[in-house]
Amino acid sequence: MNWTLLGIWIGALLTLCIYSFLYKDNPFYKFAEHVYVGISAGYLLAQDYWVQLRPNLFLPLWNDYAQGQVHFGFIPAHWYLFIPGILGLLVFTIFIPKVSWMFRYTLAFTVGVFSGLAITAELSARVLPQIGGTLRPLLELQNGHVSPWETFCNLFLVVGVLATLIYFFFSKEHKGFIGAGAKLGVWYLMVAFGAAFGYTVMARISLLIGRMQFLLGDWLHLMR
């Protein structure tokens, strides 16, 4: 049996089922959608074991016991892995109404860790570099002369950052000076969104071309 050929046929039929959705909802799409959700959930669960749980939790602990790396005869060298292990198991308390609140300990731990990390990360990776990058001399010198164009661009950039920031003021009504700044900010936002949209179009079309090359080439052999 030619497994590759079978695979290409499966892939092609699933591709067509998904595309049928563009016309309207139909049994083919429903079929592909449910198969996709099911397979991906199962696939990721199996992968989860191989990529996360096994190498990060089970394998280190197993090796500790297998190689006798234990303190006091039973505490493994990687004893601290029991903490996330127990926190992980606590999530299953939601199935037992009486102790379901224990689930919150896992939640609180996770939320605490990542909120704490976010505080320093937002500052060091976003606020400071973005401000530092905007602080540039307005006058751009080229061969000892002021370049009017470069200077204009710098000014245009700085004004844009300020106007966008003013748009995000919440404690003042958008009237008067703040209103004008916010309005300018909206214009900058619109240009930015339009540009980013236009920039992405080509990359999205090449995705479709890729699928069509699969259907017309690998499957139907119409392209050569």
Binding site: L22, Y23, Y167, H174, A182, K183, G185, V186, L189, M190, F193, V201, M202, A203, I205, S206, L207, L208, I209, G210, M212, Q213, L216, G217, L222, M223, R224
Partner: protein
């Protein structure tokens, strides 16, 4: 309702249909639009051209199916060029999800006029090894340490071609088709080129051209194919118009189609404006 009023609320499925037809049509119909070869693409060609016949060349497939439309045509055209110049191709990859692509691509080139190329004598497929630059470093000590066997589990000693190819330093040129990291930026340029002095060239997706082009200026890359367009240029250089040339057509015309739709929508909008009650719908940013 007039035609124009209808056009304003056009069923979006007509747009879907138009885009689909344009893409399929230009993938199937071979038409040739003029393609100008940029110096960056020419650089890749010249690098390969400069190698004497019979030299070894390392080609890395550093991408997965998501970037296939842009990077696979490059790989096909470059392999064709290598085969034509009788270079000894050693194929490999750093992305596990791209592993099956290597074999597929080489076989496809072989089937189109290079049936005489023998596995183990003219080319070898080492398969994929995960680990990024560490793999490149290991290969510099010994290829066998990084790849004890080839893709088909054959030990390297049993492949005649690999007898003289023991380390990365035995390859004057490395070509990488790189969708991101690991790839040209973090593995091949800093290690294969900087440390072990191989000449490095390759290709990347259109979105990341600006990220890679500084390496061209510093000559750490001797050439770069950018996206489907770069691949189309290479197909022109090796005079084998294929996937990328067609893909490039499809891409340009689909792009044009979208622009025309937008223009059409606006024309219809302005021509019917007087008839409609002014209402503000569409994008809104409140403030």
């Amino acid at each position: 309702m007039s035609f124009l009023t209808k056009a304003l609320t056009l069923d979006r499925r007509w747009i879907f249909l138009a885009i689909g037809i344009v893409v399929i049509l230009f993938l199937l119909i071979p038409i040739t639009l003029p393609v100008d070869v940029t110096p960056e693409s020419q650089g890749v060609y010249d690098t390969i051209e400069a190698l004497p016949s019979g030299s070894p060349i390392l080609v890395a497939w550093d991408f997965d199916p998501a970037s296939k439309p842009e990077l696979e045509p490059m790989a096909l055209a470059v392999i064709k060029h290598c085969f034509r110049r009788n270079l000894k191709v050693v194929a490999m990859g750093l992305w596990i999800t791209g592993a099956p692509l290597i074999e597929q691509d080489i076989n496809q080139v072989k089937a189109n006029g290079f049936q005489n190329k023998k596995y183990g004598e003219d080319y070898v497929n080492l398969g994929v090894k995960v680990g990024g630059y560490v793999v490149v470093n290991t290969m510099a000590q010994s290829i066998k340490d990084a790849f004890p066997t080839d893709y088909f589990q054959t030990p390297l000693e049993q492949l005649p071609m690999m007898q003289n190819l023991k380390t990365l330093r035995d390859f004057p040129v490395v070509i990488s088709f790189s969708a991101g990291d690991p790839g040209i930026k973090d593995a091949w340029v800093p290690f294969a080129h900087q440390r072990y002095h191989c000449i490095v060239a390759g290709g990347c997706t259109a979105v990341s051209v600006s990220e890679f082009s500084p390496y061209l200026q510093t000559r750490q890359l001797s050439g770069l194919l950018g996206g489907m367009r770069g691949a189309a240029e290479y197909e022109k250089l090796v005079d084998a118009k294929a996937l990328a040339t067609k893909g490039m057509n499809a891409q340009s015309f689909a792009h044009l189609m979208i622009i025309l739709f937008i223009v059409f929508g606006n024309v219809a909008f302005f021509l019917t404006r007087r008839k409609r009650v002014q209402g503000a719908e569409g994008p809104r940013v409140q403030g």
